[in-house]
Amino acid sequence: MSSAQLDIQLIAAVVAAACAIPGVFLVLRKMALISDAISHSILPGIVIGFFITQDLNSPILILLAAVTGIVTVVLVEIIQKTGLVKEDTAIGLVFPTLFSVGVILIAKNASDIHLDIDAVLLGELAFAPFDRLLIAGRDMGPKSLWVMGTILVVTVTLMVLFFKELKVSTFDAGLSAALGFSPVVLHYGLMSVSSITIVGAFDAVGAILVVALMIAPAATAYLLTTDLKKMLILSVLLGVFSAIAGYWLAHLLDASISGSMTTVLGIVFLMVYLFAPDKGLLSVLYRQKQQRTEVSLITFLLHLNNHSELSERHLNHLQEHINWQEVQSKTVVELALKNNMITIEDQIVSLTEKGRNFTGLALEYIMTNRDDKIEHVKDDFFLFRG
C-alpha cells in the first residue's frame, strides 16, 4: 500500500466519522433532508470563499461556506413560517436556488477558478493526498486530513460536552425549554456543526455523497440499537468501515472512490434492513408468522374449551368448523400436541391439564387486557416457539 493510498483511506475514514455524529441527531430529529439542502446550498459560499482565499482548505472559506449553510436553514424556516408551504417544499425551493447561483458563479469564472461541477458533485478524494500542509518547509501530511481531523475533534468534543442537552432537546423540545436548555440554541448549534462538517467533507466527497455519509450510517445504526450512545458509536464504526471498504471496492473496480463508498453504505444498510435481529425485515416477518400461529393456537384451544360435545371435537369436524385450510389446522394441531396441550383418541381431541391452564390464562389476558398478564403470557408464549 502506497502512502497516497493510506492517506486517502485515512481522509475517507475521518470524513465518515465526522459526518456520522451530526447525522445521528439529524436522523432522530427527522431533518435528514436538511443535510441535503445544506450540502448543495453551500456552493455559492465555497465559490465566493475561493475567490477571496484561493484555497479550498482555508478555514475562512470553510466558515464562509458554513454561514451559507445556516442561511439555508433560516430561509427554509422563514418560508415555512409563512404557512403557505410545508417544510419539504420550502427545502426544495431554497437549496436549488442557492446551488444554481454557485453553478453560475463557477461557469462565469471557469478560467480563474480551480473548481468544476464534477468535483462539486462527487468530490476529488483521489487528489486529496497531493495537497500537502507545509509548515516551515516540512511536510505535515495532506491538508484535508488536518482540516477534517480538526472538525472531527471539535465535533466529538462538543458532542461529549453537550450530549445530555442534545438528547433532551431532540427527544422532548418542550421539556428542554422548560428546563432551561434552549432548543433554539441547540438547534442552531447542531446546524452550525453540520454545516462546517459538510463544507469540510465537500472537497473530499462532493455535495451528493456527503449526504449519504451523514444519513446512511445513522439510519443503519437506528435499526441495530435502542440506545443513543450505542447508536452514535455504531454510526461512526459503520461510516468508517464503509469508507475503507468503499476505497478498496473502487480500487478493485477501478471506479470512483466516493461512488464506491456510497455503494458500500447502501449495501450495508440493505443487509442490516434485511437481517437486523429485532427490526430487520426477516425477523419482523418471522415474528408475524409466529404471532399468527399463536393466535390460531389460542383460537383452537378456546374452541376445545367451549365445547364438551364429541361432535365438536372430532378432528375432521374441527377443520370444517373453524374454517381453516388443511395445512394450517395440521400445523396448529401438531403444535398443540408437541406442547402436551391436547390428546387425540379416536380422532377426538381433548384438552390436557396443561392445555386447560394455558387457555384459562389466555382468556384472562384477553378479558382483562392487564399489562402484568401480558408479561406472563408473553413469557409462556416464548416456550412454544420453534
Binding site: 460536552l161 450530549f163 418542550g174 421539556l175 428546563l179 432551561g180 440499537t225 443513543l228
Partner: protein
C-alpha cells in the same frame, strides 16, 4: 391574599399565533397547595397557557411569576409533563433514561447525571410502579406505561409546582387511578398542581380548584364555588348540566 402565598401569578397574559389571539388578557392567581384543573373546549388555549407560563411560548403581552419571581429564576421549583403525543416514542432510549432527563434541570449545562441522580430516577420509577420496566425501550411500553414514565420524570424533579398537560389522555382506568392517587399525595405534601383536563365528569372528584378557560379566563376558584352550570355554559357555549354535588 398576600403575594407570598401565591404559587403562580399571571398578569394580562396575551398569546397570539399569526396575529390571532389564542389567549386574551389572562389574569390568574393560583394559591400554593391546590390541585387545579384547567378545563375548556378544544382550541381554548389550555396547553398554550401552560407553555407560556413555562416560557416555551413567548407571549406578546403580560407577565408570569412563580412564587413572586420570573419563571427563569424559578426553574428548579417547577416540573412539567407535556402531552404524551408531543414526543417521538421510537427515540432510542429506555424508561429509566427518560426519567433521568428530569434531573437535567438541577444539573445545568454540561454536568452529567451521576449515581445520586440515577438512584433518584429509579425511586421515581418505583413510585409509579414502573421499576420492572426500567430497561425497556420506550416504544415497547403501553400508552399508560408511557404516561407513568412521564409522571416519574416530573417526580424526580422534586418540584414545588407541577404542570401536566392531559396526563389522563389515552391511559387505561388502572393507570388513571394510579396517577390521580399520586397527584393527591403530592398535594398533601404541600405541592401545587396544575392539570389540563378533558373529562368534566371527574373534575369534582379529582380536583379541589378549577380554572375555566376559553381564550379568555371565564372563572377560577375552589370547585365548590365556581364549578357550576353557569360557568360551564359560559365556557362551552352550550347549556351544560353537570351534577356537581352527587
Amino acid at each position: 391574599m398576600t403575594e407570598e402565598k401565591l404559587a403562580i401569578s399571571v398578569d394580562d397574559l396575551t398569546v397570539a399565533y399569526d396575529y390571532k389571539p389564542v389567549l386574551w388578557d389572562i389574569d390568574l392567581e393560583v394559591p400554593e397547595g391546590v390541585l387545579m384543573a384547567i378545563v375548556g373546549p378544544n382550541g381554548a388555549g389550555k396547553s398554550t397557557l401552560i407553555k407560556s407560563i413555562l416560557g416555551i411560548i413567548k407571549p406578546i403581552a403580560g407577565s408570569v411569576s412563580i412564587f413572586g419571581k420570573p419563571y427563569k429564576n424559578q426553574r428548579k421549583l417547577v416540573a412539567y409533563v407535556p402531552q404524551k403525543g408531543s414526543v417521538d416514542w421510537d427515540f432510542p432510549t429506555t424508561a429509566a433514561d427518560v426519567v433521568l432527563m428530569g434531573t437535567y434541570g438541577s444539573l445545568g449545562w454540561i454536568r452529567r447525571p451521576g449515581q445520586k441522580e440515577k438512584k433518584a430516577a429509579l425511586e421515581a420509577l418505583e413510585k409509579v410502579g414502573m421499576l420492572p420496566f426500567k430497561n425497556r425501550q420506550i416504544s415497547q411500553l403501553s400508552g399508560g406505561q408511557q404516561q407513568r414514565v412521564f409522571l416519574a420524570r416530573a417526580l424526580v424533579q422534586d418540584a414545588s409546582i407541577y404542570f401536566m398537560d392531559e396526563p389522563f389522555q389515552g391511559v387505561d382506568a388502572t393507570t388513571e387511578i394510579a396517577i390521580i392517587n399520586i397527584l393527591k399525595e403530592l398535594r398533601k405534601a404541600g405541592k401545587t398542581l396544575v392539570v389540563v383536563h378533558h373529562d368534566l365528569q371527574t373534575v369534582p372528584e379529582y380536583f379541589d380548584w378549577v380554572t375555566f378557560l376559553n381564550v379568555k379566563k371565564i372563572a377560577t376558584g375552589p370547585i365548590k364555588e365556581v364549578f357550576n352550570d353557569d360557568n360551564l355554559t359560559k365556557t362551552y357555549g352550550i347549556n351544560y348540566k353537570v351534577a356537581v354535588n352527587k
